[in-house]
Symmetry: D3
Subunit: 148 residues, 6 copies
Amino acid sequence: MKKIDKGIGKSALQLVLANSDEIEEAETHMKDSDFIYCLGKTGSMELQKVVSAIETAAKRNAVIDEELYREMHALYHAILEALEGVTRGQVSLGDVMRTVGLRFSVVRGRPYENEAEGEWIAVALYGTIGAPIRGLEHETTGLGINHI
Amino acid sequence: MKKIDKGIGKSALQLVLANSDEIEEAETHMKDSDFIYCLGKTGSMELQKVVSAIETAAKRNAVIDEELYREMHALYHAILEALEGVTRGQVSLGDVMRTVGLRFSVVRGRPYENEAEGEWIAVALYGTIGAPIRGLEHETTGLGINHI
Amino acid sequence: MKKIDKGIGKSALQLVLANSDEIEEAETHMKDSDFIYCLGKTGSMELQKVVSAIETAAKRNAVIDEELYREMHALYHAILEALEGVTRGQVSLGDVMRTVGLRFSVVRGRPYENEAEGEWIAVALYGTIGAPIRGLEHETTGLGINHI
Amino acid sequence: MKKIDKGIGKSALQLVLANSDEIEEAETHMKDSDFIYCLGKTGSMELQKVVSAIETAAKRNAVIDEELYREMHALYHAILEALEGVTRGQVSLGDVMRTVGLRFSVVRGRPYENEAEGEWIAVALYGTIGAPIRGLEHETTGLGINHI
Amino acid sequence: MKKIDKGIGKSALQLVLANSDEIEEAETHMKDSDFIYCLGKTGSMELQKVVSAIETAAKRNAVIDEELYREMHALYHAILEALEGVTRGQVSLGDVMRTVGLRFSVVRGRPYENEAEGEWIAVALYGTIGAPIRGLEHETTGLGINHI
Amino acid sequence: MKKIDKGIGKSALQLVLANSDEIEEAETHMKDSDFIYCLGKTGSMELQKVVSAIETAAKRNAVIDEELYREMHALYHAILEALEGVTRGQVSLGDVMRTVGLRFSVVRGRPYENEAEGEWIAVALYGTIGAPIRGLEHETTGLGINHI
């Protein structure tokens, strides 16, 4: 019956993992699908700025309707869940002396065959986390998924 | 100087994200690199079995040397960090009535240009998490990276 | 514009806080509102049983449609959030040698003036938490709210 | 023997849940009991200010004796436990781009029949949590209880 | 005024850190002080057994009065805080495939000059944590302190 | 085979627990061993400053090589683990209105008999945690251990 046959999470992850020569194909693939999405970059020692950058991009690109709290609520929790993967333990950056440089994607659509399942949202993050010194960093990723 | 130019984390993620028709290419790509790796599947309501399945695969495929605690210690923490991304908040499964079905990869190698940085290990997870009822689930992912 | 004028959370809390002589009034008040709800009791050292009892009651009383994952997903996260309030720190019971005796309510409805905000769900918990010895316990509460 | 017959936690919750026309009755009820209490409001994106507002009110209203560390210690942990219920997962506000508007009560007294159980303290919180934009918020609650 | 001049925490730590030839001196030192204490060993993959072993020892040695919930409550939270130091992140053992072998001490007394500060309790833990395979382990410690 | 016979963790703890008349002996004992170490003090409401003070001391005293990310990575995670013991629940200070005054030690060496286990690092913390008011504080400790 219900099946994740369109992989909204995988779609979101592939957008942030794509190299500069793969991104065009990844974006074309998204445009051919029923999903809508946005893609961006953010880097900061302040978690607040990371949350804010993703929210702003999702609003500006009309991936979510900022007039509706239910949509903002769905997005917010998907962002926080993705940040759990990025921060792995304590959802904080500067407070524990670390910084991130991330690519993010927000994908919205109907990933289940059953139409009644409605729309869902996926937030994917990929980039680096480390000390606030160039090179002292390793890769990190996170994925948050929510019904909308 | 130091740069994540070989992307040990991205390599690990691409292995678990590959479809059945992409996996051969992904594995060939790995074999051409200096990285060693293993790939597997695990599904359970018991977190303990997930940890154990990954550890066993890494040992059997000689990705890590089980005789050395330092290698087991590096792998263990990379697994736990990847599970933070999968569980997003509370590192538990059955206790909070949920189950996972995951593909995992463990990749080991030298991701930094500077040889002195030595070996690192990446654990990537991708699959589904949800209620212990077929279909009541969504995608989830996690990545843990550690020096070895 | 949007305003929590119907207090879905407060409604849920008042149901679990009502004494035996207040419960009739509280239930009448609910029946006069647009909210649908269910009310129950659960007690266990196993968190899994607490989650399960609430899910089962919500399904049996048709507060949520168990055929739809989006509804189960909304309920599940509302339950977990309510349990954060009950457990205050580590979402576990028997593992850290404690047990709960709880009244729970699940309330579903439209708490915002703006119709487009749609339906939301609130899970309220109230009871005791303590050592698995009669009397060695104090009160505890929790509230989780989610869009549905 | 021991029994939570006076419900210090429920008393604290009812104070913060009372509407403007119920508060007088709730306060009268408290004055007739052996409990002492204080009641206040606080709103902030900074968790520090929330903790501080509650501590200050409890000191000014002589609910606790600020000269005694043991009393401050009991209050502090009760506040933190109540905040776990409010924040549900990560005890932070502005860092994860959210703000609260809360009513709080601090109640002190002897909730157990056995006199030797001595005094206990309850901190209850009720209000809204959400984005720092009017209306993008839902209800939240928390209760912390400690021996004093 | 108030000062931690008797170091209840340090006293508890020194008891668990003492080698076999230092333990006699450490115990003599304790007996000369106003503190009462108990000392024991516990090892398990089940957190529940660790909590239980410490509680049982504290009761049997009359460090706390098991008839009084306020004393059990003070001890319980001190144990949990000590376990946060031992587990560093997720308060779980077997669920994440690890085991502990610990020495524990529970010390009770008046650590502050001001008599009104009354009695406090300290729980110290020291030992090893690691995989359930001999030798794959490293040291770990934890300290919890509470008013009683 | 492998055995924690040199106690890198206990060595680190004894350095921070030593009184002014014991410190000389403790340091002499360290100098006679194969371990290298540094010792310092830090106090702050900002966690960032605590992390930074320990990192700076370890670099200046050549306990770790700041040019190598793998060493900084090992140290960083050992510091965070030690801070879990100090903060017991939420790794934050000023945000939850508390401050610390800590002695810290960083010890590096080969604690296992098997030479192949290589070098490990231990970070020990001991001091006080409490309200930002003199005297309203109790003792706290933490220990983090990592392979390097």
